[in-house]
């Protein structure tokens, strides 16, 4: 199946729960969804089109909102499904029931952006060190790091 046909079919099939589906580059489809319908969209993509390989989940800090992008692909096309979640109450549903391989990416989002992934099977912190202070999320744009002064061995 070529990307155009897949796009047309997605637009027809999922018209109720997606917006702005478009072919943005060769073999790249982008579409928007609402967070509450995310799992339904992913399940549909997986069952109907066989688009089951989750490349990664990228989070982006947009200021007011966080954007979370799910990159899925099969042999023909890559589909990026994006959802928005407000900064003051950042919640996204877990997609692990549909794609079990998403677990590490969701844990990473929790660590780096402070998103709350609802019903995640394994909510433990993953990447940051054990004594990392609570409530510090390094990939948020307003989080800045000050490098402490260095010790120069032999002292100069």
């Amino acid at each position: 199946m070529n990307p155009e046909t897949i796009l047309a079919k997605i637009q027809g099939d999922l018209a109720a729960c997606i917006q702005d589906a478009a072919l943005v580059a060769p073999r790249r489809i982008q579409l928007k969804a609402r967070p509450e319908q995310l799992t339904a969209v992913l399940a549909r993509l997986k069952e109907t089109f066989g688009i089951a390989h989750l490349g990664t989940i990228s989070g982006v800090d947009l200021g007011e909102n966080f954007e979370v992008i799910y990159h899925l692909s099969n042999a023909d096309v890559t589909v990026s499904v994006r959802i928005l979640t407000p900064r003051r109450d950042p919640r996204i549903p877990s997609v692990c029931p549909v794609i079990p391989g998403a677990i590490l990416y969701e844990r990473e989002l929790q660590d780096m952006f402070g998103l709350v992934v609802e019903n995640i099977p394994d909510p433990r912190p993953m990447l940051l060190c054990d004594d990392w202070p609570e409530g510090q999320f390094p990939l948020r744009k307003d989080w800045k790091f000050e490098r402490p002064a260095e010790i120069i061995p032999g002292g100069k």
């Binding site: 940051l128 060190c129 004594d131 990392w132 390094p138 490098r147 260095e150």
Partner: protein, 141 residues
């Protein structure tokens, strides 16, 4: 007499522990292994790579220390019996390389441990490591 014998054997056949401090790119580790392979053959100087810190005389550290790994590195260093020598191998171990300014690494091994020799390069060539080991041994004599 025994002391002289121990000293002699230490200089002639130092046992080396290779420790990855976490925040490196792995290139240096590969080059350390390459130095032990038939092409460069570090073992002809009596240098032997050991798996456990308790058998080692020299600890070769690669990579910048990550915060998560900081206490582990210290623990491994403390397990090396005296007298011990630290070698900071590669740019990350010396001064952090590209990871300088990262929130999760320390800039260089020497912020945490005493270091006896530095090996420059990102990554260093196996020959540079051999040179460092030989120089270190000469200074111990």
């Amino acid at each position: 007499m025994i002391e002289r014998l121990v000293h002699w054997s230490r200089v002639k056949s130092p046992w080396v522990l290779h420790l990855n401090a976490g925040g490196g790119c792995n290139g240096c580790d590969i080059e350390i292994l390459a130095a032990l392979m038939p092409r460069f053959d570090l073992e002809r100087f009596g240098v032997q790579l050991k798996g456990t810190p308790r058998h080692a005389d020299v600890m070769i550290c690669t990579g910048a220390i990550t915060l998560q790994n900081r206490d582990r590195v210290l623990r491994v260093y403390e397990q090396v019996p005296e007298p011990k020598f630290g070698v900071a191998a590669g740019a990350c171990a010396r001064a952090g390389c590209v990871y300088r300014g990262s929130y999760h690494t320390l800039v260089g091994i020497d912020q945490l441990l005493p270091v006896n020799a530095y090996v420059p390069g990102c990554p260093f060539r196996p020959a540079a490591l051999i040179d460092a080991v030989v120089k270190l041994l000469n200074s111990v004599k």
